[in-house]
Symmetry: C2
Subunit: 323 residues, 2 copies
């Protein structure tokens, strides 16, 4: 077994913007070994908190052109002086060390730039763990002087909510369909989106993309009338042709400055979520409680015991052994 890297040396290398150090630090943060975990917390405690980065969440189903979009968008940001890190959250990936998301071969131009860092998604056991690691990875990237951090996710499970809860701005990519068959978006996701981006507004699909923008604007005005200018939040781009990307980048920078104000509330929510998860984990792992949980759940689901009575029983058993 290798020893964990020295946190102080790693922190110093990160501050120089060293990309290899960043890769090593991310591996450390992703490790579940106890000694790695301890070193990771030491490392994180040594890092400066960087307030002037832009944290961007990007979601979209397979086939909407996410890689092409992130590459075009990231290169635009680099031309504007940014250093760009692309991270990926893929709770469905079971393979260690890589998955379809964040694969460097998907973004060859971006991966080649010395002002970019592309990190494939790690294997995820639980979404809670994935969220925690991704939050920490954002901090590492910012410490390594990446001032645009893109967190990419597929439209699966609760990962969008997790990513929206850790970024300043959440973009949802959609593709125009043909004719009446507009490619729909996942239930719940418009609620999270700060910007809805219709990609592939080029060639044969251009008219469909324009129609999609009008349709989504109308739908959003109807279903989300509270915000003043919901219509403005739907834009069309062609990542392939580079159309609309520079305008979008300017819009993202502007909105991101406001979105950054979410960070204190996000951090507080993350704290209580981690505490809550930790408490439930301790309870589920309690030697006196674990053997009975299945039976309690069965009685609750068949209606013979109310959730309240069952919760009281379990809680009393767990809390009684505190001193």
């Amino acid at each position: 077994m290798r020893a964990p890297p020295d946190p102080a040396a790693l922190a110093a290398a990160l501050r120089r913007g060293d990309r290899r150090a960043l890769a090593r630090a991310i591996t450390l943060v992703e490790s579940t070994r106890a000694e790695d975990r301890a070193a990771a917390e030491k490392l994180l405690a040594l890092l400066p908190s960087s307030g002037d980065s832009l944290r961007l969440g990007i979601s979209g189903s397979p086939g909407v052109g996410k890689s092409t979009f992130i590459e075009a968008f990231g290169l635009t940001a680099i031309r504007d002086g940014r250093r760009v890190a692309v991270l990926a959250v893929d709770p469905t990936s079971q393979r260690s060390g890589g998955s379809i998301l964040g694969d460097k071969t998907r973004m060859p131009e971006l991966a080649k730039s010395d002002r970019a860092f592309v990190r494939p998604s790690p294997a995820g056991r639980t979404l809670g763990g994935v969220a925690r690691r991704t939050r920490e990875t954002i901090l590492l990237a910012e410490a390594a002087r990446f001032d645009l951090v893109i967190v990419e996710t597929v439209g699966v499970g609760q990962s969008e909510t997790a990513v929206a809860d850790m970024t300043d701005l959440f973009l949802v990519l959609i593709a125009p369909g043909s004719g009446d068959e507009l490619q729909g978006i996942k239930r719940g996701i418009t609620e999270l989106a700060d910007l809805l981006i219709v990609n592939k507004a080029d060639g044969d699909l251009e008219p469909a993309a324009k129609r999609a923008v009008a349709d989504y604007r109308h739908a959003l005005r109807l279903l989300r009338p509270r915000a003043k200018s919901e219509g403005e939040m739907v834009v069309a781009v062609s990542a392939l042709k580079g159309r609309g990307i520079a305008e979008l980048w300017r819009q993202v920078v502007e909105l991101g400055a406001a979105g950054r104000r979410r960070r204190p509330a996000q951090a507080r929510a993350a704290l209580w979520q981690e505490i809550g998860e930790g408490l439930l984990e301790a309870l589920k792992g309690d030697a006196h409680i674990a053997p009975h949980l299945a039976a309690v759940e069965a009685r609750v689901t068949d209606g013979s015991l109310t959730p309240t009575a069952a919760a009281r029983e379990v809680l009393e058993e767990f809390l009684a052994r505190r001193r």
Copy 2:
């Protein structure tokens, strides 16, 4: 201080369908006194689990005609042989024993019927407590042989999610606006709705109501394309004129039979939510932890401590004193 009622006698009266007993039982369940709480749990343990009721959540902003709708709808159900209980969840109400929701004077015809029970909403301190009490109140009403339980809520805070999580079917009422100014619905609420009901489809508003149905159908097809027939879930009624109510009742009965299958999962989720809330409450009330929580939160929100490191510290402190 009055003594709590005898659970066995109260349970027997409930089973006879006694409405006064139901009112007393609900008061017991709503009480926060420890001895009432103990009696309430005894009572709930004595009740039969009733599987053939229909639990209906109804939400809508003030002004959409909720009272008129529930009265017309409830009377239709009564004519179809049902016994109807109307409960209310209003987490904003701070007054004890009553609020604008569920007020009997709002539904005079329904309140008069001996096959109906209308209960005003209790004062709510926390939504968690409100949800628990409402879940238990549903069980009481079912034990008292009410086989249509309507849980009414205003479009405020998280109450819709709570109500949707404890009912078989969730209806959202909307009113047509004038011209282009369609009355919008709250962000997030279409995600919860099983049926969207455009009320006030009468008189001058009839054309606007028809337009609203078409617009919402289109918007839902676009934004929630996964479900096969989302368009079907938008209907127009006039509660005032009684138009469309009988058809809606038939649709609700049909959908409700499928919606009942959610109950085991709802009960399991309620169990874990109550356990989670109880654990957090114990932690926040811990004499060793409470004095430090504000400082920990401040360090997390200003970025000088990661949520993970802070959560670990707090959890270790709390769990270390278990034996």
